[in-house]
């Protein structure tokens, strides 16, 4: 890559510039700051859109009474039952049971505490969906009427 070709197209990097390796006019390698490449933005947006899709599906399932609100927080933190089990220190088969609304409703504050602590929320919050289920990238917030 030539120095002049180092992309400066802006990125999703919140103002953190990264450096790229590029060849200057004398053929020597230099480290060139880059503030983003649209190719990477497309791939990154796609990864977040996939998470947003999962969130939409899980919110639908919670509203239909198929899953507990724990499922929302799990997907929101990009976890699956296995990873959540490792983080919360609760066996995977139990985590999977806790994803069922009927089982989840019977859990007391002590049983829910490891989850709440992990997600940095209160037990009361864990028992309901947030008003605006936000993702880090505002553009993927799964609100009504939005098309992916």
């Amino acid at each position: 890559m030539k120095k002049a070709n180092v992309p400066q197209q802006g990125g999703l990097n919140a103002g953190c510039r990264e450096v790229s390796y590029a060849v200057d006019s004398d053929g020597h390698y230099t480290l060139e700051p880059s503030d983003g490449w649209e190719v990477k933005n497309i791939a990154l947006r796609q990864a977040w859109a996939a998470i947003a899709d999962q969130l939409r599906v899980v919110i639908g399932e919670i509203e239909a009474g198929v899953k507990s609100t724990l499922a929302y927080y799990m997907v929101r933190q990009q976890m699956d039952p296995q990873l959540l089990s490792e983080y919360a220190g609760i066996a995977r088969w139990r985590v999977k049971r806790h994803l069922k609304p009927a089982v989840f409703a019977r859990l007391d504050a002590v049983a829910l505490h490891p989850y709440a602590e992990l997600f940095g929320i209160s037990v009361a919050q864990l028992r309901q969906l947030p008003e605006l289920p936000l993702l880090p990238l505002a553009e993927f917030t799964p609100i009504e009427g939005e098309q992916p």
């Binding site: 890559m1 999703l12 990097n13 919140a14 103002g15 953190c16 510039r17 990264e18 450096v19 790229s20 390796y21 590029a22 060849v23 053929g27 020597h28 390698y29 480290l31 490449w37 649209e38 190719v39 990477k40 497309i42 791939a43 990154l44 796609q46 990864a47 977040w48 996939a50 990009q78 976890m79 296995q82 990873l83 490792e86 983080y87 880090p136 990238l137």
Partner: protein
């Protein structure tokens, strides 16, 4: 407490950490040199191991290897520790900092608050240097950032004990003792031989040039086999593994080209200059692959029209890399 540590921004975390630590201990070292001596360049496509439900594709060797191999080849004594208890792990980090040593740590980026939100995925192979602690904040030199950053102790603790694939288990590493003198040329040659071996001669179809060819073969079948959505997700995943923060671009091929350029001078071997240019051209080919793949992801070109071209580009990368590493092997010799 704060250790006098020179932070330099680089493209890749682990080679950047290695270079900055070597620099601190009196061996002036560029990132490219650390990457090359550590034999960082690699390719593997492992369809049966899934990361976020997508096949593992990587252009670099496993986390931890660059530091380990680079220091071993330079004859440097290092220490590595892992922990089962987060409190012990934190106490040990504080103790090491108190002795005046900057310490390398493996972390999960999901828990690092200074990362841009868009990059906070569950990836546990991220390396950084801790060089001080003020009140409840650790002072951190993360080579992919322009400046040093602060990180609250609670967050670093979570990041050091991230779970899932590549769980760091609080891993710390640091330089214990530097040798009297270095045999830089030997270390460089060993690093190059290592990469030539993994890229050409590992008897597994998943690794090196053969891995690229396997990916080319399988990729051509994705649209028919997986359907559009999954195909595009897989393509996007390859782009990220190849171009995202920490690769220096072109799937680490540009860092490696920079290393070969530096090696040409240090080994006084002019053949390496031409091979460095060749490596740059391979990197450009990978960039072109990413560019076309991104167009497909964006829906600007039809999948059916472009997948043959994408597979063809990968085969071209494989062919070019095969020539490159064979010539490199010949240029370095066996001794």
């Amino acid at each position: 407490m704060k250790i006098d540590f020179t932070h330099r921004q680089f493209a890749h975390c682990e080679s950047g950490v290695t270079a900055n630590l070597l620099n601190h201990h009196g061996l002036p070292c560029s990132e490219a040199l650390a990457f090359g001596i550590g034999g960082g360049l690699f390719f593997a496509y492992v369809p049966f191991i899934k990361i976020n439900y997508l096949p593992l594709t990587t252009c670099r060797i496993a986390p931890g290897h660059i530091f380990k191999k680079a220091t071993r080849r330079l004859g440097i004594e290092v220490k590595k520790q892992q922990f089962s208890n987060p409190a012990t792990a934190e106490a040990e980090l504080d103790r090491l900092l108190a002795t005046g040593r900057p310490v390398g740590a493996q972390t999960g980026v999901f828990w690092l608050p200074f990362f841009p939100p868009a990059y906070r995925f569950h990836f546990n192979g991220h390396n950084l240097v801790v060089f001080g602690k003020e009140a409840d904040d650790y002072l951190i030199s993360d080579p992919i950032f322009e400046e040093t950053v602060r990180c609250p102790a609670v967050d670093l603790r979570k990041a050091r004990f991230a779970k899932g694939a590549l769980a760091p288990k609080g891993k710390l590493y640091y330089i214990e003792k530097m040798p009297e003198r270095f045999d830089l040329p030997q270390a460089i040659k060993a690093g190059i031989r290592d990469v030539c071996r993994t890229m050409l001669h590992v008897p597994l179809p998943l690794i090196g040039v053969r891995g690229i060819r396997l990916l080319a073969r399988q990729l051509a079948n994705w649209p028919g086999k997986l359907g559009e959505q999954q195909t595009l997700l897989r393509l996007g995943h390859i782009i990220r593994m190849q171009e995202e923060i920490g690769t220096g671009g072109g799937g680490f091929r540009f860092i490696y080209a920079a290393f070969l350029q530096e090696a040409a001078e240090l080994l006084e071997n002019d053949q390496l200059i031409g091979l460095s240019q060749r490596c740059t051209e391979v990197g450009d080919l990978w960039r072109e692959f990413a560019l076309i793949a991104a167009r497909v992801c964006k829906g600007r070109v039809a999948i059916s029209d472009s997948f043959d071209e994408l597979a063809q580009l990968l085969r071209q990368c494989a062919a070019e890399e095969e020539i490159l590493f064979k010539q490199l092997q010949a240029a370095i010799g066996k001794q």
